[in-house]
Amino acid sequence: MWDIVFMYLKAFLVGGAICTLAQVLINTTKMTSGRILVTFMLLGAVLQAFGVYELLINFAGAGATVPISGFGYLLAEGAINGAKNGLFSAITGGLKAASAGITAAVVFSFIMALIFKPKSKIN
C-alpha cells in the first residue's frame, strides 16, 4: 500500500521537476512549444542512448514516462533492442516501440478535428 502512495509521490516530484525545467527554458530563452517538445524528446533519447533514462523510469514510473522525454526514451530503447536482431530492426525498432503514441495522436486528433471546431477565445 505504502509503496503505491510513495510511487505517486515520486511520479509527481519527478514529472513536476521535468516540467519546471521546461518552464525555466521558456522563461530564459523564449523557446516556443514546438522547440521545447523537440528538445525534451531528444534529451530523453540521448539519455537512454547512454542507458540513463531507464533508471529514472524505474525510480519514478509515470513521472518519467509521461513527459515527452519518455517518448524519446521509447524511440531510443526500441532501436537499442532492435540492434540485437540485426541492422534492419535497429532501424525500425524505434518507431515500432513508439507506434502506440503516434498512432493514438493521429487517430484521436483526426476524430476530434472531425467533431470539434476551434472555440473563440476571450482570454
Partner: protein, 154 residues
C-alpha cells in the same frame, strides 16, 4: 538624398531589453511544477488501473498508458480546455505527452476549414512534425551505432 543604410540601433535595443516586462518567474515555475506533476500522477494512476484491472504489463502497459493520456489530451483540446490549462501552466502542460497530443490535435482542428486533405490532414503536424522527424532520426542513429557496437564486441 542617398539611399539610407539599415539604421539598427544598439542603444535602442538595449533600452527595449531593459524595459520589457518579465515573466513572473517563481509563479510560472510553481504552476508548471504543480500541473506537470499532477498530469504525471494521472499517468501513474492509469498505469496502476490498466495493470490491476486489465492485467496489462511491460511494453504494452507503457503504450496503453500513453494512448489513454493522448486521448485525454485530444479530448481536452477538442473541448477548448487545453489551451486554457496551457496559459496557466506553460511548460507544465506542454512537456507531458498530453501536450504532444494537443500540438497534433490543435492544428488539425484549426486547419479543417481548409479542407480534409490539404487542411486537416496535411497540417496536422505543423507543430509536432519536428518531434517525429528528429525523434526517428535520433532513434535510427542510436540503433545503427548500437548495431555496430554489438558487431565489434561480439
Amino acid at each position: 538624398m542617398k539611399a539610407k543604410t539599415k539604421d539598427y540601433n544598439e542603444e535602442y535595443l538595449n533600452l527595449v531589453k531593459r524595459l520589457a516586462p518579465r515573466t513572473n518567474e517563481p509563479r510560472s515555475l510553481f504552476n508548471a511544477f504543480i500541473v506537470g506533476g499532477f498530469i504525471c500522477i494521472i499517468g501513474q494512476f492509469i498505469r496502476y488501473f490498466l495493470m490491476y484491472v486489465f492485467g496489462i504489463y511491460g511494453d504494452e502497459l507503457a503504450g496503453a498508458t500513453s494512448m489513454v493520456l493522448i486521448f485525454i489530451g485530444c479530448l481536452l483540446t477538442g473541448l477548448g480546455v487545453y489551451d486554457k490549462i496551457g496559459h496557466y501552466a506553460g511548460g507544465g502542460s506542454i512537456v507531458p505527452i498530453t501536450g504532444f497530443a494537443n500540438s497534433v490535435c490543435s492544428p488539425a482542428m484549426e486547419f479543417k476549414s481548409e479542407g480534409y486533405v490539404y487542411g486537416l490532414a496535411a497540417k496536422m503536424f505543423v507543430v509536432a512534425g519536428p518531434i517525429i522527424v528528429y525523434g526517428i532520426s535520433a532513434s535510427v542513429a542510436t540503433g545503427v551505432v548500437y548495431y555496430f557496437i554489438n558487431l565489434l564486441s561480439a
